[in-house]
């Protein structure tokens, strides 16, 4: 053990510590939103930070996505063939720009990822209505960079997993007992900054566009 560590702990342990009354620490639900209300709030929040939100369903999302890819003039789309959504997309290859799977470690194709990928599509593990946030737990099939480096990020959110607040999402999905993944993310809009004279600019280091498809 380092000497620094020993000294720090010695000092911290040397003093009497206050008892803290922890009443009021736990989450109290303050909203009573049904699914329609959650969808409405989520959409409003996302749109307020310039994310695109499309309301769709299991029958029509594939066409919607194909149209969006065309309208945005994308030449390729990074998407895993192993997710529910990815499987459907790969069955309709002809309708989409060139599909690319993230099938190797990043080191093997970093340049392509940084400079040639136009857009990506990922699934989400849930959403938060109060703040307009997507919850992502990147996996081996859908690694971390997918929602970070490509300029356009499509995300599909199954509204069954749209929770009212972050606290509820965490509780209902039992994050604690599931064990935290390498990286868990909340994403609430495209990347932005107001560092230049407080003028809001989008697309700083992360995606310039975030497109959410609600199912």
């Amino acid at each position: 053990m380092s000497e620094a560590r020993t000294h720090i702990f010695q000092r911290l342990r040397a003093v009497p510590r206050p008892e803290v009354d922890t009443t009021g620490r736990d989450y109290v639900p303050i909203y009573d939103w049904d699914r329609a209300e959650r969808i409405k709030r989520f959409t409003e929040r996302m749109q307020a930070v310039r994310a695109e939100v499309h309301h769709s369903d299991r029958d029509s999302w594939l066409n919607l996505l194909a149209d969006l890819c065309k309208a945005k003039g994308l030449t390729n789309l990074l998407v895993s063939p192993h997710t529910e959504w990815g499987q459907a997309i790969y069955q309709q290859v002809g309708e989409f720009p060139t599909l690319q799977d993230y099938d190797r470690a990043i080191e093997a194709w970093k340049h392509e990822m940084f400079y040639n990928i136009d857009a990506s599509l990922t699934s989400t593990v849930g959403g938060i209505a109060e703040t307009g946030s997507l919850i992502l737990w990147p996996t081996e099939q859908e690694p971390r960079i997918m929602s970070l480096v490509p300029p356009v990020h499509f995300a599909i959110l199954d509204t069954q997993h749209l929770y009212t607040t972050f606290a509820e999402a965490m509780q209902e999905q039992d994050w604690l007992n599931q064990g935290m993944p390498t990286n868990a993310l909340l994403i609430s809009g495209p990347s932005k900054s107001a560092d230049i004279a407080q003028v809001l600019a989008y697309g700083v280091h992360g995606p310039k566009e975030l497109v959410v498809i609600l199912i």
Partner: protein, 471 residues
Amino acid sequence: MAKPSEFRIQVDQALGKTEVRAHFRKAMDTLMTNRRNQFPDNAELQRLRDQAQVIRANALSKLPELLEQLESNLTRNGIHVHWAETTDEANDIVLKIMQKHNATWMIKGKSMVSEEMGLNHFLESKGIEALESDLGEFIIQLDGETPSHIIMPAIHKSKEQIAQLFNEKFPDIPYTEDVDTLTRTARDILREKFYNAPVGLSGVNFAVAETGTLCLVENEGNGRMSTTIPPVHIAVTGIEKVVEKLSDIPPLLSILPRSATGQPITTYFNMISSPRKKGEKDGPEEVHLVLLDNGRSRIYSDPELLATLRCIRCGACINHCPVYVRIGGHSYGTVYPGPIGTILEPQKSGLKVHGELVQASSLCGACGEVCPVRIPIPSIINRLRYEGVRQDGGSALDAGSKRKPLEAITWKAWSWAASHPSVYNLGSTVATQVRNLVPHNLGAWTSVRTAPAVADKTLHQQLKALGVDHE
């Protein structure tokens, strides 16, 4: 007259810059309005503040145990934990990691603790470049400046100044004042840097003991880039940033961005619990956490001053401070400006170095009212003023160092007179009689004000005339 201190000189200079002052005024007004709009329901705001306070106070009351738990969980998850008592030690730890990887430069996400460490300078002296990637930090680094605000580091700069700066540093790119274009320029330059960076460094907003998770709050994505792209990630943070449970995170995340910039949430909330695992295709292979003390454990020893460590660095106290808005962030000459700097810096570096800052407050109370974790900043300022002049030891670093013999005797005499009515009455009566002899020039006080006039009758005399029996 005594030589004015560095702080006074800087304040004087800052007050002379009318344009910058107007700029700060406008920026702070916007931030205050944005925050207010985020909390339409006052009862809910107060409940949230209570909750955030309890979470932070609880974490501090169990600090050593939580730090041990954090360390063991992080280690189990594969994250290397390092301890530093001083900023020198922390810098050395970072340097050793760099050297182990033969890294000649690093890319940085925003981190105030790295500012506290003076990391960029230190690494530079060892021939290692530390490149800032937060847009605001990038801008001030180009200009060789330090942050003037903990959340918006380049807030003192106008659009035109930034446009000129870019033009000077990147002459190949056409001059523009268009913010979108300037932002895109920075994006392109930094993308290439992220692509090549051998090491990424970041701060930490909250560290969860229960799960061994490092949480980062940001809007731009540079924090995610710095912690995802380079093969090595080094996080630096203060030992006080730990919280006990995962369920403590949502309330803190709810109140932090709303208090800071008036956003419901930041674009990214990034929770890191391990380096790249087997089978995963990206993320750093190695993650380090450097836990810095630098005076925090001394602050910890005083039950009143301890509240300082609850701070979640939202900057709301800064945005609402009537002193900060006038003198700006650089005048303080410290890493943390505004009310939080006023209480934190003298405790970290000692009252001898930064004790004067506790005078930079009108005690209006705004900081204490907006603080999301209810740090009683005005009381702590008062306490530190007392620590500065007390005679009997005290727990702040350099307690008693601000004590002046003449001032001490004057106050003693005053307190003696005030507790002896006959002396007091005699004194005040004499004062009314020599009232015209009060000089018009009372040094600094009268340089911008008229000298105070003594009344022609004492309060006692006036009350007596009104028939009030004051005894």
